[in-house]
Symmetry: C2
Subunit: 347 residues, 2 copies
Amino acid sequence: MTKSKPDAGRNIRQPRGKRATLKTISELTGLSLSTVSLSLRGGASLKEETRQKVEAAARSVGYVPDRAGVRLRTGKTNVIALVLDGSDEAIDFSRHMIRGIGEAIGGTRYHLTVMPEFDRVASVETVRYILENRTADGVIITHTGARDRRVQLMMDHDFPFVSHGRTEFFTPHPFHDFHAEAFTELAVERLVEKGCRDVMLAIGDDTTNNYHNIVRTLERAAARHGVKSRVVVQKAIRPASAEMRQFGRDLADRADRPDGFICDSETRAISMLCGLQDGGVMLERDIHFICKQTSDILSTVFPGVDTIEEDVYAAGVELTRLLLRRIDGEPAETLQTLSEPVAHWRS
Amino acid sequence: MTKSKPDAGRNIRQPRGKRATLKTISELTGLSLSTVSLSLRGGASLKEETRQKVEAAARSVGYVPDRAGVRLRTGKTNVIALVLDGSDEAIDFSRHMIRGIGEAIGGTRYHLTVMPEFDRVASVETVRYILENRTADGVIITHTGARDRRVQLMMDHDFPFVSHGRTEFFTPHPFHDFHAEAFTELAVERLVEKGCRDVMLAIGDDTTNNYHNIVRTLERAAARHGVKSRVVVQKAIRPASAEMRQFGRDLADRADRPDGFICDSETRAISMLCGLQDGGVMLERDIHFICKQTSDILSTVFPGVDTIEEDVYAAGVELTRLLLRRIDGEPAETLQTLSEPVAHWRS
DNA sequence: ATCACTCGTTGCAACGTTGCAATAAATGCG
DNA sequence: CGCATTTATTGCAACGTTGCAACGAGTGAT
């Protein structure tokens, strides 16, 4: 018949080992909460002796500021959000991107939350959700469109973000992008060098701004070198599929088969190359092929194919650095970078 | 000389459009904060009329509970953490996993944070960090080892988690795993059916529990069918590489070349198959090949190769469902599932 | 009319943090 | 020595939420 003690059940959280808070340090040092808080944030008005005392105590109890407390008080979430749309991606794109971001936030307070979405429409809603609920301090978006609605939304709200890819908007915003123009120039030049007179470009998604950059550059470069150029958009075809392979097979038989080919996707390139081979087309004799590459797979299967590397890991690192600087208040104009393509000529 | 107004500068956050809080609803309905809070969480003791009034008001102002407030008060983060180790992964594994998790947390309060780590040692530290700082309500780990230290750590702390992969621990914990034994049985049976007498298994990582399951099953199945079996661990070789291709090439020339081959990685399989072809080995005549598959690439390059599919997306969904049930207090014993392999025989 | 009880609602304190105004102690100056 | 100024520290309130004890009003029994 023992009644439960009157002061039982006070703990809301599991008290397993009780986290250290400012209060812990306060009691330990005999200083007030405010002083401790101030001190840990480097308060300049404090005595050196005090600061050391606080720091020692904090270290000894392994103090780490409570994210919920900070967030509630300051509104700062210490979170950056990566918004993935579900569209056609390069091999292991997400993986490299995420590890790049992870590398860049290592040693900072920041956490990464990933919001996976299935299409770009939904991804606008995701961004809106983040803005309205202030659920992150900054956002990284990928596969940016020329007049991307997510970019517009975040600019309207003056919310820190960085896009992987550029836009057409007049107002500047932070971005990091693969230098698609340099890639295209490099590719065309290489093909011309090898004697090509008729270059075809295959591209997977004509809704990104990237598309326009590449196509425009191709046309100019081809004109400059006096060679023919064509573009084929393969948006509707699954990158790795029998259909894609058949596309290569059909190409092999065409009377107007190009003698130079540029492809912006490793996956689609592999499929097409298989198809071309099926049709008896021989690489480096009947056709020259150049492909953008994000993994080692293409080079393992077709070691002879020239590739141009896009380092998605490095892009993740750079995007994050830009974003953090943006969050710290740097103006957008100074936060725009390109990554130069790295050519791997095989022959 | 106008002094700034005495009550200026009160807002800590940007007041852009001011988020709705319980207070907003309270003022709107004339009810107290407590009542509003209670009502929104379905308080059974309230008048039906009140609840509807609150709900209407909440809807009209688009109320969403503040995560920081809830977290501070209750300790509940509404976050699940995915701990990725950086080891050898199947193609687009991260991507499919993340999208599966995204699918399963859709419509819930939960957010996903991803903690990318470069090796398994670091990933133990990551888990420790999550536990000590209560930075998530539950954890998903992948590439689980037989006596995985992360699992041990979380069991010791009685912290909700689920592992992709099983362990040898006696105490039960939630997991979801590919049914590697069924995969192996299926593969051996198929090869034997095709007339193979000498089966080789190539596997990439002998530190996961998965490894032991597969090897044990292989040996038993081979013995049962009266065929020879061998295992080769390819841990040190990069999955897509000239080296891996060379491995296939060398295999082609070996006097003791097997007539049946099982591979647990699509990437390595592609490389090896290229090497075998280089050596003049013909598929389905000189050797029969079976591979575990997580994307479409292998089938596009080698349409004739039998594959067995592991659906990583579905695994992400299932892992998340199990974890959420675990967080809600279900016992571990009831939260253990396997996913059955799906065979794609091509001939 | 008083009591005990239920029903529906409310006030208060606390979670961990930080900005600000206020304090106390030490110093400088006339 | 008194007053103003600087230096070092502190108390208080607030961010948004929830658990709990307490409240007043109504009901029914005594």
